[in-house]
């Protein structure tokens, strides 16, 4: 980190190499779109590395980078929820014909190789169960049980009270148990 703060390109590359998989994995599981997750991960690293001079060593570097990655993911999901098209067509449509014309068409396109890869990577029972969690629960449970961070570190990363993190993780595990039990019965 000291090296990176002094501006050594090799140190910057090493930070990217060390964190690209965990940061990309978190974002990929949040947005479930490879290209978009790469864009958000790239945005995260550029923000972190361009702001490296403001990094305060009393905080863990991993906490800082995950905080920025999580914010990028959550911001995207919030924007997306505002832009979501109804499956039934535009809310402004006045007639059934207009509704039909503006309805989102599903299943009429062949999958691209990238979509096939995404379906393979995120198509397992546990991945589909994670996808059904609220984004806030998803980030907490992934940071806790995939990345292995302590509750206190997650609270710091996500700017949440410790009690809220504990509640989110508890609820997320309960929901996962329910989904997994349903799928396996």
């Amino acid at each position: 980190m000291a090296w990176a703060k002094e501006g050594h390109e090799a140190a910057f590359r090493e930070l990217v190499r060390r964190y690209e998989r965990p940061v990309f994995s978190l974002l990929y599981r949040m947005v479930r779109d490879r290209a978009l997750a790469e864009d958000l991960a790239q945005e995260t690293f550029i923000k972190v590395l361009n702001g490296i001079k403001s990094y305060r060593p009393e905080f863990k570097f991993s906490s800082w980078i995950f905080k920025i990655a999580n914010n990028a993911g959550i911001d995207h999901l919030r924007r997306k929820s505002l832009d979501t098209l109804s499956l039934d067509g535009s809310p402004d449509a006045a007639t059934p014909e207009e509704m039909g014309a503006t309805a989102l068409q599903l299943g009429d396109k062949a999958e691209t190789p990238l979509q096939e890869l995404e379906a393979r990577e995120l198509g397992t029972v546990i991945e589909r169960a994670i996808a059904r969690l609220r984004p806030e629960y998803r980030a907490c449970i992934l940071l806790r049980h995939v990345e292995g961070y302590a509750y206190e570190e997650i609270a710091e990363m996500l700017d949440l009270p410790l009690g809220t993190v504990k509640t989110y993780i508890h609820r997320a595990r309960n929901e996962l148990r329910g989904y997994l039990a349903d799928k396996r019965e």
Binding site: F12, F45, I46
Partner: protein
């Protein structure tokens, strides 16, 4: 008079048990309490599944794309490129 029953395990205690680091007193409660055992077994399965999730890799040129957009400060305080 019967002693006061021990409270059931919390979510955090179940995690400790799944990691093999639950204290002896609480482990004794777990051994005696079928409700806690059933709950803990189910929780452990979920925790194990999550812990085994793979880490995905971005595209091979990811680091190059990042580095192309990063301003690297020099010792004199200027930026490259």
């Amino acid at each position: 008079m019967n002693p006061t029953p021990m409270p059931h395990l919390t979510s955090e205690e179940i995690e400790l048990w799944a990691q093999g680091i639950l204290g002896a007193a609480r482990a004794m409660h777990l051994a005696d309490c079928s409700l806690c055992r059933a709950e803990a077994e189910q929780e452990r399965k979920v925790i194990l599944e999550l812990a085994q999730l793979r880490r995905f890799a971005p595209s091979p040129d990811f680091a190059d794309r990042v580095m192309a957009k990063v301003r690297i400060p020099t010792r004199s305080g200027e930026f490259t490129p």
